[in-house]
């Protein structure tokens, strides 16, 4: 089923299809390492080659994340980040960019605490296109997925190597925007999947949905991103970017000059890898 509305995500994936290439989805955590640097990174992402921007909502207990993104969350919270400020960051970004899709990714509690209805109104107004909420499987779709669809925001489901063919219809039932294939059984930023196993999984998922399929977890280099771009509709990179943030902090944990630029340089490399990869089957 496709959603009854169109978002920037639909438009972006349509234009990628026309270009005959896969997209690059970048993940950085809102407010990491501080509000200004994080905003500067976000503002520079489209020009650096990010096709879709994922922004992490900082959370105290990121159960599905590895050390790199855990630390990014901690840095952001220490610097005063919150869900409210995350929305403000998107609003600010939208003043200069009304086409790059923005997806918020995080855990349910900050959203639940904010209030689902109020959150959806504010997220829509800020220019958020989609949501990825790690701890809301299809079994809990009444919490946020269905209300989000009513509010005109895509709810992006995760599918994992453990998601059997019997489960995929439930995952795809209310999925919209794109489907996010978690390529390993594990947490973010740890192991990397073989391109061959990813291709098999993408083929399997395709039988259940027409949505674009993005692949993430464990993609760190331009080569890995290119390998994924040959078999999927988008590659998601996160831990490698927040690691770059960490590598550009001074002893006190503050951003060194050039921190944002260093992250954007990594994005440029990844984007060149993704763009050079000719899609399998594409002319």
């Amino acid at each position: 089923m496709s959603a009854a509305f169109k978002t920037r995500l639909d438009a972006r994936f349509a234009s990628l299809r026309t270009e005959g290439r896969a997209g690059l989805i970048t993940f950085t955590t809102a407010g990491d390492p501080d509000a200004a640097t994080s905003q500067a990174i976000m503002a520079g992402l489209p020009a650096a080659g990010a096709d879709v921007i994922e922004i992490g909502i900082p959370f105290s207990d990121p159960m599905a994340d590895g050390p790199a993104i855990q630390l990014a969350s901690q840095r952001a919270l220490k610097a005063g980040a919150s869900l409210k400020k995350t929305l403000a960051m998107v609003r600010d970004f939208r003043r200069a960019d009304d086409t790059t899709p923005v997806v918020l990714m995080g855990y349910y509690n900050p959203i639940y605490s904010y209030g689902v209805d109020r959150f959806l109104v504010d997220a829509k107004a800020a220019g958020v296109d989609g949501l990825i909420v790690v701890d809301l499987p299809p079994e809990e779709e009444g919490e946020l997925c269905l209300p989000a669809l009513k509010a005109g925001i895509n709810f992006i489901y995760l599918s994992a190597p453990t998601s059997t063919d019997a489960r995929l219809p439930a995952i795809c039932r209310n999925a919209s925007g794109f489907l996010y294939y978690v390529s390993i059984t594990g947490i973010t930023g740890t192991r990397s999947a073989e391109a061959g196993s990813v291709e098999a999984a993408v083929t399997r998922i395709r039988r259940h949905t027409d949505l674009p399929i993005a692949v993430g977890f464990g993609i760190k280099t331009a080569e890995q991103a290119a390998a994924i771009a040959r078999v999927a509709d988008a590659a998601v990179v996160g831990s490698a970017l927040v690691e770059t943030v960490r590598a550009n902090l001074d002893g006190a944990g503050s951003a060194k000059p050039g921190c944002a630029e260093a992250v954007l340089n990594v994005v440029r490399e990844l984007a060149s890898g993704v763009r050079a990869a000719r899609r399998k089957g594409a002319a």
Binding site: P58, M63, Q74, N109, D135, E139, Y157
Partner: protein, 403 residues
């Protein structure tokens, strides 16, 4: 609120107790959670599973645990007649082993070959390491670094039992972080690993399953008090961290309208200081570790650190069934400070010759509050859910004694 016909029917098929509970986990884990649910339903319907469970409880754990009339403390408080349910006499020294026996039998039925668990005070870690030694399964215990330091004897016991103890440094380095880390391990080892959760929390079916295994406490109490007094107790009292010993005692009595129940949370330095672990008293509903329940959290929905002198109560959440029972008004939830618990710890030791764990010392401090005002024929049963050997170092430090 209008009383229900039954308080024992929950959860529903989705694991909900009212608005609480549920299955808030990452997709990678969801198929495993469903497999555990299916395996547990099959085990429950199989009489041979219950036979095996009861056999280990009797011959390995040493159940039934006695119901002891604490005469000197009853006289000391000068009111109600106080009984202790002596779950501190179980093998490994606490109620935790009841649940571990049940879950390890389930893990074996599921063909799992590796066990992981989280622990706070170390009692659940020791109980898990124990059953893993008993059945020859490798075992990894996640424990907050702060807890590793303050519960050194239990860390050593786990290692003696052959477990690998992994100190967790993330976040506040206590029980909630240990649970995060166990979930991260599980998601990376879905094929062979079983996550043996130690309390009535986590995604469905854990809250119901752990409650069922712990309900042996209340079932025995019912028989024993009938034998001793010829009637049901008037008030049940138990300490609450995640809430498994309390749920085990309370659940078989929930539909006996005459039985009052008090769950005792840790007030740490005092509720007003913000340094406590009283999620029902001072938290609000949220979603963490697979379920919706009362949580200690800030205005932004970030989970805040809990504090208690008792590592076993030092958790910012609570089992979802307790959250529901609170809202329904069936169970009353109160809190006791570190200082009150330490005083009760000493009192119990001196008056009854029983060194209690700091967790039930909280329950006893509450008994000390209510007993004097109650008539002499009022029957209180308090769950003495753990022994205090593990706490003697912490108490010595507190009392300024060098060991």
């Amino acid at each position: 609120m209008k009383p229900l016909n039954t308080y024992r029917a929950g959860p529903d098929e989705h694991g909900h107790f009212g608005i609480y509970g549920g299955r808030f986990v990452a997709e990678t884990l969801m198929p495993l959670i469903l497999a555990v649910e299916k395996a547990y339903a099959a085990a429950k319907a199989d009489p041979s599973f219950d036979d095996e469970f009861r056999r280990y409880l009797k011959h390995y754990v040493g159940r039934p645990s006695p119901l002891f009339h604490a005469e000197r403390l009853s006289a000391h408080f000068g009111g109600a007649r106080i009984y202790f349910k002596r779950d501190e006499l179980n093998h490994t020294g606490a109620h935790k082993i009841n649940n571990c026996i049940g879950q390890i039998l389930l893990a074996r039925r599921m063909g799992k070959t590796r066990i992981i668990a989280e622990t706070g005070a170390g009692q659940h870690g020791v109980a898990t390491a124990t059953v893993c030694a008993l059945f020859g399964l490798p075992c990894v215990i996640y424990m907050g670094k702060t807890d590793v330091e303050r519960q050194a004897p239990n860390v050593f016991r786990m290692k003696l039992l052959g477990a690998e103890v992994v100190p967790v440094t993330a976040g506040s380095a206590t029980l909630k972080d240990a649970m995060n880390e166990a979930l991260r391990d599980w998601v990376a080892n879905v094929e062979d690993t079983y996550y043996l959760i130690g309390t009535v929390a986590g995604p469905h079916p854990y809250p119901a399953m752990v409650r069922d295994f712990q309900s042996v406490i209340g079932e025995e109490t019912r028989e024993q008090i009938m034998e001793a007094e010829g009637r049901l107790p008037d008030t049940l009292v138990a300490a609450i961290g995640g809430g498994s010993n309390a749920m085990g005692l309370f659940h078989p009595f929930l539909d006996d309208a005459s039985v009052r129940m008090h769950g005792v949370e840790a007030a740490g330095h005092g509720i007003e200081t913000g340094q406590h672990a009283a999620s029902l008293t001072a938290g609000r509903p949220g979603v963490l570790h697979g379920n919706r329940t009362y949580l200690l959290q800030d205005d932004d929905g970030q989970i805040t650190e809990a504090h208690s002198i008792s590592a076993g109560l030092d958790y910012p959440g609570i089992g979802p069934e307790h959250a529901w029972l609170k809202d329904m008004g069936r169970v009353e939830y109160v809190s006791i400070t570190d200082d009150e618990a330490v005083a009760a710890f000493q009192l119990c030791t001196q008056k009854e010759g029983i060194i209690p764990a700091l967790e039930p010392a909280h329950a006893l401090a509450h008994v000390g509050r209510i007993a004097p005002k109650l008539p002499k024929d009022h029957l209180i049963v308090m769950n003495l859910c753990g022994r205090g050997d593990k706490d003697v170092f912490a108490i010595a430090k507190r009392l300024g004694v060098e060991l």
